[in-house]
């Protein structure tokens, strides 16, 4: 098992202890870890397994089932392109393809500089403004292929 450094281990253990009285604490533990660290690598899952007694295969199953959890660190900007039915018929596939082309990554991947993660989402519930793109919680309405470069530039500007 790859070992976490002692500081990281102590932080994870303190998260686990928040839920020590819960009957089914796994989702809450993983949710906190995801929120605080942005991803849940296997060594962390193994630590959660050791402390909770839940088999690591089961934890891994939960992490890989819910798209909210991630095994890899996410970028500074998480670009979520909605590919729900309404967005799809309004051209969302072309939008995500354009992001993919400019950033040089596929959906689910992160750019090497750690700046962008591209995610394909199911319905955001914003069908009225399709195609919708959600970036770190901010929703961009009626995104067209032509706007994609501008959005990326804007984010890059913000990053500098």
């Amino acid at each position: 098992m790859a070992r976490l450094n002692s500081k990281a281990e102590a932080q994870i253990v303190s998260i686990i202890e928040r839920y020590k009285d819960e009957k089914t604490p796994l989702m809450m533990i993983l949710s906190d870890i995801q929120k605080e660290y942005g991803y849940i690598p296997l060594e962390v899952q193994e630590l959660v397994s050791d402390k909770t007694g839940i088999p690591v295969a089961e934890i891994y199953g939960v992490v890989t089932f819910y798209s909210f959890f991630s095994l890899q660190p996410k970028g500074k900007y998480v670009i979520g392109c909605c590919l729900g039915t309404a967005c799809y018929v309004k051209g969302a596939q072309q939008v995500i393809d354009k992001f993919s082309e400019i950033l040089g990554i596929k959906a689910g991947e992160t750019t090497k500089d750690g700046l962008f993660t591209l995610d394909a989402l199911r319905c955001l519930g914003a069908c009225g403004i399709a195609p919708a793109v959600s970036i770190n919680g901010k929703v961009y309405p009626k995104v067209s292929v032509d706007q994609v470069q501008g959005i990326i530039n804007e984010l890059k500007g913000g990053a500098n």
């Binding site: 050791d50 088999p55 891994y60």
Partner: protein
């Protein structure tokens, strides 16, 4: 228990309240086809969707295995809609299934094939893309082939409920979902203990033992001196592969079949079990004398070491407590060691020219033979380990009419055994065998009864105390490693007051081992297979003249001619082994 009134196909029935539709229908004489439901709720995921029926009050069709009945419910199994839905469910499973049934090792007992027949599934009804496939055959023991997996979850639940391990889990989602160790790693990189319980519960060929038949064929073809040994639990189950009722004793036919298969000698692991008792009993008595000091060193109580899956479990989960384990090799390994040292000398043969094939109810034995410190003569003690299933396959391949065979008897000297060696195949058996001998050594006369009934039975943990000339000995017996974990946790916490503990990995002991004939979910749900096979072993023991290991004349001769006495230096070199610490992840 309160009752409710339901109707099935329009006919009224009164059944127990609180049942699922599937269970209620069973009470009324209906067996609805299902794949995922297993062992009285051990697995109840409602995942396979094969058991769909119509029920009033429900929206659409319901999975009868998880849907509860209620007063006045009307259930329809045979409506055109329900019949078509069950067929479609199975056809959908088949559409993502590797349908090379003729070469599948599970084809004789495949439950998917069975439900497909029952619902009238057609082939290629929904042809399309297939899920990505992983075939893991890196361990010497278990092969996992996801192209056969129906995602029922029975193996996942089995690993958790029997052992509290949970090596397997569901991972990923939708089309990419699979049952695998974390990260889809091979078993060899997981804390899998190789017990094979997952194989026994898998309804298809997704989990199967790694066959060594081809290697045995090679040895036979090369004209090697091939010797067979058969573990005690095999004779209580092999007949099931030939249509006999569960637990039919087939010792004589099994020996006869092995002779026809070309083995030069047919010996019995029971002999080595008797030898194990001499070594382990002596080890116990020497630790018992020194118990207070050894407790502090973490070497007391003594725990048996016959079950290789238990040993691996202990190495992964309790690496600091390996001192409790008896240093004795398992009977399989002791047999091989004696065969390639003492017996090779007797034959005047080079141990390299002897090939020892074990017939085992166990898959972990395939792993055990490759462990370090299991090569007394400089060559592996055991060359090949076949499961009961593999032996049945060989017998069928050879065209031997098993049921018609004239019984034969084991060869001497390594086929001479006592009832004590025989009961090693059942949970509590090693303890009982040890007690029969230890009692007599300590007290100086035979125990008032050779039936130590307190350590018999299929409960997960049994305990008993015995008075040996005023000295109290407290023993415990556990099977299923979830139970072993409780015992180990108590030892770790200093709360254990046992002197001697027997642990077998598989629930019920070797009779329920991972290499035994596959029983369908229906058989497992309706019969206590392990109890029936155990009764068969105890009945055979009862009728034997020799029932104590130390009276085995072949064992006595072996000590006289070769080892001197139990736990002698030579015995330690040949019959004992060491354990290794393993990581949990």
């Amino acid at each position: 228990m309160s009752k409710v009134n339901i109707k099935i196909e329009g006919i009224p029935y009164e059944v127990d309240a609180g049942l699922t539709i599937l269970e209620a229908c069973k009470q009324c004489g209906y067996d609805i086809p299902t794949l995922c439901t297993f062992n009285h709720g051990e697995c109840n995921q409602g995942s396979c969707r094969v058991c769909l029926v119509e029920a009033t009050g429900a929206r659409g069709l319901v999975a009868s295995c998880v849907y509860p009945i209620n007063e006045g419910m009307e259930i329809t199994i045979s409506s055109p809609k329900a019949v078509a839905a069950r067929r479609a469910s199975v056809e959908l499973i088949l559409s993502n299934h590797n349908r090379n049934c003729q070469e599948c090792d599970k084809n004789e007992y495949c439950e998917l094939l069975d439900v497909a027949r029952r619902v009238g599934a057609r082939d290629n009804k929904f042809d399309g893309a297939k899920s990505p496939v992983t075939v893991d055959q890196l361990t010497p023991t278990i092969v996992r082939d996801t192209s056969k997996c129906v995602l029922c979850g029975r193996c996942v639940e089995r690993c958790k409920s029997a052992h509290g391990i949970g090596v397997l889990g569901f991972e990923n989602r939708g089309f990419n979902a699979m049952v695998a160790p974390a990260e889809n790693r091979p078993f060899i990189k997981s804390p899998c203990i190789m017990c094979g319980q997952c194989i026994n519960v898998c309804p298809t060929g997704a989990l199967m033992e790694k066959s060594e038949i081809a290697k045995v064929d090679e040895a036979m073809a090369a004209g090697k001196y091939v010797i067979a040994q058969t573990a005690p639990a095999v004779r209580a189950a092999l007949g099931e592969s030939f249509g006999m009722p569960v637990g039919t004793p087939v010792t004589g036919k099994m020996v006869a079949a092995l002779r026809r298969l070309g083995y030069k000698k047919v010996f019995d692991t029971d002999f080595a079990a008797d030898l194990t008792i001499m070594e382990e009993g002596t080890e116990f008595l020497s630790r018992f004398k020194n118990k207070e000091a050894l407790k502090k060193e973490g070497k007391y109580p003594l725990i048996t070491s016959c079950s290789p899956a238990w040993i691996k479990f202990c190495e992964h989960n309790f690496p600091e407590q390996l001192g409790h384990l008896s240093s004795c090799k398992s009977p399989q390994q002791m047999f091989g060691a004696v065969c390639k040292t003492y017996y090779a000398e007797k034959l005047g043969m080079d141990p390299k020219d002897i090939v020892v094939v074990s017939i085992m109810p166990c898959t972990a034995k395939k792993f055990e033979k490759g462990r370090p410190n299991q090569a007394a003569a400089g060559v592996p003690d055991i060359d090949y380990a076949l499961t009961t299933r593999e032996l049945a396959k060989l017998i069928k391949r050879a065209g031997i009419l098993f049921n018609d065979l004239e019984p034969s008897t084991f060869d001497a000297p390594l086929g001479i055994f006592t009832g004590a060696g025989l009961i090693f195949g059942v949970t509590g058996g090693v303890m009982e065998a040890a007690l029969r001998t230890v009692y007599e050594i300590v007290v100086g006369k035979e125990a008032p009864s050779l039936d130590f009934v307190d350590v018999r039975g299929t409960q997960g943990i049994k305990e008993a105390s015995y008075d040996l000339n005023g000295v109290k000995v407290k023993v415990a017996v556990a099977s299923g490693l979830a139970n072993a974990r409780k015992i180990m946790d108590d030892i770790k916490a200093g709360k254990s007051d046992y002197d001697f503990i027997e642990i077998m990995s598989c629930p019920g002991g070797c009779v329920n081992g991972g290499g035994q004939p596959i029983k369908t979910a229906y058989e497992r749900n309706n019969f206590d297979i392990k109890a029936i096979r155990a009764a068969s072993i105890y009945a055979q023991d009862k009728n034997l003249e020799m029932r104590k290991s130390h009276v085995n004349p072949a064992v006595q001769t072996l000590y006289k001619e070769y080892f001197g006495e139990p736990n002698s230096h030579k015995a330690h070199e040949i019959l004992h082994t060491k354990y290794v610490k393993r990581d949990l992840h």
